[in-house]
Amino acid sequence: DAGITQSPRHKVTETGTPVTLRCHQTENHRYMYWYRQDPGHGLRLIHYSYGVKDTDKGEVSDGYSVSRSKTEDFLLTLESATSSQTSVYFCAIRENPGQGNSPLHFGNGTRLTVT
């Protein structure tokens, strides 16, 4: 357990509404990531952060924004949810970014359904 908590664990929302998912870590790791998991696509990177207020886009960032105002929290926002954003969202941290082969560690995910 890498001390990662995702909330909520499940969310159902309507098309066009804003949604914010939260990732909280307890160990002050610098690097945090948001991925989405969809059948046939594996995990795809949405955004990542390399420090407070330092974020960058991943391969599927359209329609998503992120914020990191403090080390322990990384927020993912869907400004206007669409059905194509129905997915399972995973947060991850990287413990030792100075070591090239340091792995990611994941939270338990948020299942989001957009109706």
């Binding site: 990662i4 690097y31 990531y33 991925y35 046939g40 696509h41 594996g42 995990l43 795809r44 990177l45 990542y48 390399y50 960058d56 991943g58 995973f90 991850a92 990287r94 970014p97 090239g100 082969n101 792995p103 990611l104 560690h105 994941f106 939270g107 338990n108 995910g109």
Partner: protein
């Protein structure tokens, strides 16, 4: 561009038999390679990683992975499968020469171990 391919959506094996889950990768430089396992309704758990110079890497739960540079492969193996090994397995890669801490994942392989 970095990419990972897992050519088999599903692998079926009988308990006690050896198992192999295949992974091939493409990076512009030297690779960092990882295997993860996912059980239902859980996040991904780190299994093992490639260590430069070791063609056979040992990891958690009796799993190992064989690195082959000429074939750009990093196949996951276990000498004797257990029913409890049934899960979804993901291969991931990061480019040694990539200054950005991005990890790329395969689409996943579902392993079914039958009693």
């Amino acid at each position: 561009a970095q990419s990972v391919a897992q050519p088999e959506d599903q692998v079926n094996v009988a308990e006690g038999n050896p198992l192999t889950v295949k992974c091939t990768y493409s990076v512009s430089g030297n690779p960092y390679l990882f295997w993860y396992v996912q059980y239902p309704n859980r996040g991904l758990q780190f299994l093992l990683k490639y260590i430069t110079g070791d063609n056979l890497v040992k990891g958690s739960y009796g799993f190992e992975a064989e690195f082959n540079k000429s074939q750009t492969s990093f196949h996951l193996k276990k000498p004797s499968a257990l029913v409890s090994d049934s899960a979804l397995y993901f291969c991931a890669v990061r480019d040694l020469n990539d200054n950005v801490n991005k990890f790329y994942f395969g689409s996943g392989t579902k392993l079914n171990v039958k009693p």
